[in-house]
Symmetry: none
């Protein structure tokens, strides 16, 4: 495992300004991070403006990968954190950047991949993006003025990761019987479950469908499932739907 | 002693760009700092460019005081730290931002005043400026790429200060709309699920039944479910089992 593999990916969701992608690349290089992912960026992240803002970190900018949606950008990751400036009405663990750095270090130390989501400059992450995360990171700052520039938010997370990284590579958490599920495996279970819930009529109220789905997603996202557990859940849904039926239904 | 008096002053020595003075003001406000001092700034720190960069922190910019030299700017301070990117040939204590935050806090706690010096964008502090400081702060970052933007250097020092002294932010997660499920509610869901899994044939292998049940129990136990989520899960199991069926089963 190289240091690069242990370092978390930085995922900018719908960044608005190419300049901010450039300054983010610079902040990442400061902190020894290199995996930059862009979800539907509005501007060209290799424009002159972006390269100038990167101020020497252009190799990182050139290595950035773009994705059409957040789910695709985190598909290969085992652990996803979402940064938010305002509290969400979601039941997810809430961490500081320092606690997040510990989590990221532990995940990397066992050869798993982690990533941190950052939302668009103006609005921050959408609830559906936050729904893809295992935990929320909130930077404890002046409550009267929390608004951080995108690159500065990345810098604070990266800085804490860099401070903790050396101390944490040696820590070996107990090995689970089965590796944790990737985001893609979890998504494929959600797809399966939602398909069957549509079919049986559980998601019949069109106006409640989106919020129901998000609530259900949160339940399984939060459980920190192993790949084996996701297979078990697939089996449960399949058998509940298509297994033997009672002749006398309750 | 108010919180303001305990907070360190930020002293920008010969800043080159008004925009960087603006973004520094923003970073300071993020961290609950307000005492901004400018030594021989090259540009007008109340220009439109600076105010735009301050992005709402203009009261701080308007309150900034200018000085002709560094000695005058630190004259009233009891303890001065100098930030540097490269090592100086000076016999002075060398600290990290985290250690610096402790020092600044201790100084503030006894009613004394502290300040942190930041050099011009291109060259950093002159040795004569560093000479006025009690200790040097060096930010541990990627040794191959240390160059920090001025406001980002201020942000990291301010962030550490805020974590150590300003952060009285409540990090408890938002109260869920629904109270957490009791153990009894959770057990009653497990009973329901297991009953249906028996009925549909999922738990048909007698010798695996106990371990399967334990594994399934673990999944939902770990999710830290709310009472509402348990009700949702009851509904999911019921509908998957007894809702509409496809005519063509997969």
């Amino acid at each position: 495992m190289t240091a690069d593999n242990a370092a978390p990916a930085i995922i900018l969701v719908r960044p608005q300004l190419a300049e901010n992608v450039g300054t983010t690349a610079r902040a990442m290089l400061n902190c020894g991070l290199s995996d930059l992912r862009l979800v539907a960026p509005r501007e060209d992240w290799l424009s002159d403006k972006a390269l100038a803002a990167a101020s020497g970190a252009d190799s990182l900018l050139r290595g950035a990968r773009a994705y059409p949606g957040t789910a695709a950008a985190v598909a290969d990751l085992h652990h996803v954190l979402a940064t938010t400036a305002r509290r969400r009405d979601m039941v997810k663990p809430l961490t500081t950047p320092r606690q997040a750095a510990e989590i990221l270090g532990r995940v990397g130390a066992v050869g798993q991949r982690a990533g941190v989501l950052f939302g668009p400059e103006r609005a921050g992450l959408a609830n559906d993006d936050v729904g893809l995360a295992d935990a929320i990171v909130e930077v404890p700052l002046n409550p009267a003025y929390r608004s951080l520039n995108l690159a500065q938010a990345v810098l604070l997370i990266g800085y804490e990761w860099f401070q903790a990284h050396g101390a944490l590579v040696d820590m070996t958490p107990p090995a689970a019987d089965s590796p944790p599920a990737t985001q893609q495996e979890l998504e494929s279970f959600h797809d399966h479950l939602f398909r069957e819930l549509e079919a049986c009529g559980f998601l019949r109220l069109e106006e409640k469908k989106a919020v129901m789905k998000r609530n259900i997603r949160n339940i399984f996202q939060r459980a920190g499932l192993t790949a084996q557990e996701v297979r078990t859940l697939h089996g449960i849904v399949k058998e509940l739907r298509h297994g033997r039926r009672y002749t006398n239904q309750r």
